[in-house]
Symmetry: C2
Subunit: 384 residues, 2 copies
Amino acid sequence: MSRHATTGEVLALIRSGEAVTRADIGRVTGLSRPAVSLRVGELLERGLVVERTDAPSTGGRPPVRLEFNAAGGVVLVAALGASRTRVAVCDLAGNELAGRRFHIDVEQGPDVVLPLLMDTWEELLGDRPRSAVRGVGMGVPATVEFAEGRTESARVMASWTGVVIPPLIRQRFDVPVLVDNDVNVLAVGEHRGAYREETGDLLFVKISTRIGAGIVAAGSILRGALGAAGEIGHIPVRDGGGVLCRCGNIDCVDSVASGTALLRELRAAGKDVKTIDDVTALVRAGDAETMAMVREAGRRIGEVLAGAVNILNPSVVVLGGDVAEAFGPLVSSIREVVYRRSTALATRRLRIEPSRLGAAAGISGCAVMVLDHVLSARAVDDSL
Amino acid sequence: MSRHATTGEVLALIRSGEAVTRADIGRVTGLSRPAVSLRVGELLERGLVVERTDAPSTGGRPPVRLEFNAAGGVVLVAALGASRTRVAVCDLAGNELAGRRFHIDVEQGPDVVLPLLMDTWEELLGDRPRSAVRGVGMGVPATVEFAEGRTESARVMASWTGVVIPPLIRQRFDVPVLVDNDVNVLAVGEHRGAYREETGDLLFVKISTRIGAGIVAAGSILRGALGAAGEIGHIPVRDGGGVLCRCGNIDCVDSVASGTALLRELRAAGKDVKTIDDVTALVRAGDAETMAMVREAGRRIGEVLAGAVNILNPSVVVLGGDVAEAFGPLVSSIREVVYRRSTALATRRLRIEPSRLGAAAGISGCAVMVLDHVLSARAVDDSL
C-alpha cells in the first residue's frame, strides 16, 4: 500500500477546500509538480473537478482555482415506504435535480417495484447521458444486510425477504448500488442535513405504521453485526396487557403504540378511523378518548426510548414519521417519560424534538449514503 | 495540514509491520531518503524503535530491520473497583511488567486513593527512570466525562463526584492521563484481548455489586454525548414489584438483580449471607431457594439485555463481573431470555458467553486505552 497521495485523496482535498490550486496540492501532499498534474488531469477528465480563473488582481497570471464539480454527474435515489415512495435524481452535492412521489404497494415485490423505480429514474434523467450516473442509493422498509444489500427481515415487505437488490439494479444501471433500511437513511439525512454541526450522537425514531430507530454514534450510522441495530419496535413495554405482536412475542412497543396499534385500538373503541389522517382529525377536534389513547401510546414509546437513551446517551432524539409529525400530545408524552425514566446524566443535555427535515430526510439520506461511497478516495481510485 | 508522512506515521508503519526497513518506508510513503533518515532518527532517539541486523544470507551488507521497541517505555495503569483495585506497570505492548492487587475503599476519596496509587506506581517502577513513563490509564467505578477525565456521576464513588482526575496525577507524573469508567475499560480489554479478530460489535456486561455495560461498536468504544452510554443498570424490568432504586426510580434492573439486590433478597429470606462468596457457597451446595433467586435475577437481566441486543445488534454479549463469573444458573437464565425476547435477526448469530479474560481485562483495557493514545501518530508528532 502506498501512502503517496492518490487521485481520490486529491479530490478529497479539493472538495473540502483544503487545497484550491495545483500549488496548494503540491504543498499539502508533497507530490511533485508532474504528479499533481497527472492527478488533477484525471479528475478534470472525469468531470469531478472544474478549473476557474479569477480576474487578475495584482497583475501577472492569476492562479487557476480548482473546484469540486457538483454538476459532474448524478446519483439516482429512492426512499421506499410501506405505501409512499419518493424517487429522485440528485447532483453530486446531493441537491435534488428532479423528483417524483407516488403511492406504490411495495408488497407487489421486487419484480414489480424495481422496474418501476428504474423507469422513473430514466424519465427523470431526461436528456442526461446514462454515463453521468455515478451511483444508486435506496432506503427500504426492511432490515438490510448492508454489505450486500440483502433485505433480511421484511415484515412490511414480506415478498422481498432475502432479495439482494444491487445486482437487479445493476442490470440497467451498472454503478455502485447502496441499500439500507429506511430508518437508517432518515437518520443519516436528518443528521447531515440538520445536526452535523451540533452533534455526532443522534437517535432518530420513526413512528409510523411501525416503530423503528436509526442510530448515529460519533458521526456514523451504527449498524451492528448484521445491520439490525436500532430495532426498538420489538422491545416490550411494561404492563402491556398481553398484546400478541406479529413477531410472535407479546407487548412489543410496536404492537401497542405504533400507528397500526392506534388505529386498531380506536376502532375497538368504536371510532370510525381508517388512516392516520382520520386519527389526526379526531385529535384536532379535541376528542378526549382519542387524545388519551395517543398520550398513552406516547408513554409506551417513551418507556422504550428511556432505555435506548440510557444505552446510547445521544445529544438529541429526533422524532419523525407521520404519526410523530401529526401529534403534539404524543411528543409531549414521550418527552415526559424519557426525562423521568432515563438517568440524570443521560438527560442532562438531551433534547427531544420533532424531525426538522420531515420526509425530505429520506431522499437526502439516500443521496448522502451513495455520495459518501462513490466520492470516497478509495472508490474514486478504484474507478480510474 | 501536511499530508507528508510524519514521524508518528512512520512509527505506525513500523509497528504494524507494513514497513520494516528504511527502503520500505521510502517506497510506501514517497519520502526522500534524507527525510526517512530524519524521522527514523527521531524514533531511535526516543527509544520507540530499535535496529536489528540479520546475518547476511546472500553476501553483501544485510539491510537493517526496524522494530517497534515495546521496552522503550512504560505506562502506568490502575483498575479501581468498589473494593478491589489492581495497579500495574506495563510495557508499550501492554504486557504487565509488575503489578499489585489490594483492597481499598474508594469512598475514602481522591485525596487518599490517588496518592496511594501513585506511591504504588513508584514502587512498581523500581529502578526504571521516571522519564520512561509515557502515560497513565485508569478505570474507575463511575461515569466519566472522557475528554476531561471528570468523574460525573459516582454512586459508588460519591466522594469523587465532579473530580477531574488527570491534573491530580500530572502533579507527579507529567504525562497524558486517560480515565474511563470501569466497564468501558473491561469492554476494551476483553475486545482487544480476546475478540478483535472475530468481531467489531461486542457488548460487555458487568454483573457485580452493580450492573453496567460497555459497548464496542464497529471496533470502537461507544461513549455517547457525555460518556454515559452503556448505563443499562437503570432500565426498569417488567413486574419488578416496585423496588425503590438508589437513583430514585423504581424497578431498575440494578435494584432487583445486581449482586447487592441478591444479597438483600437472600437476607430477607433468612439466609446468612454477607458477600457474593457466601451466595456462591449456597449455589454450590444446591440450595433450592438461592438457585431460584439467582435464576430470577438472570431473567431480569436477560430482559434488559434483550432490549440492548435489539438496539445494538452485537455479535457477542460477554458476561463479566464477579456475580456473572460465579453463577452458571445466572448465565443460562440470561441466555434463555435474550434468545426468546430479542428479534430473530439480532440473535441469528449472537453468542452469549462468560468473560474470557476475567478481571485481567481491567488492567489490559487500561493499557490499551492509554497506548492507543500515546502511540497514535498525532501524539507522537506532538511530543517531538
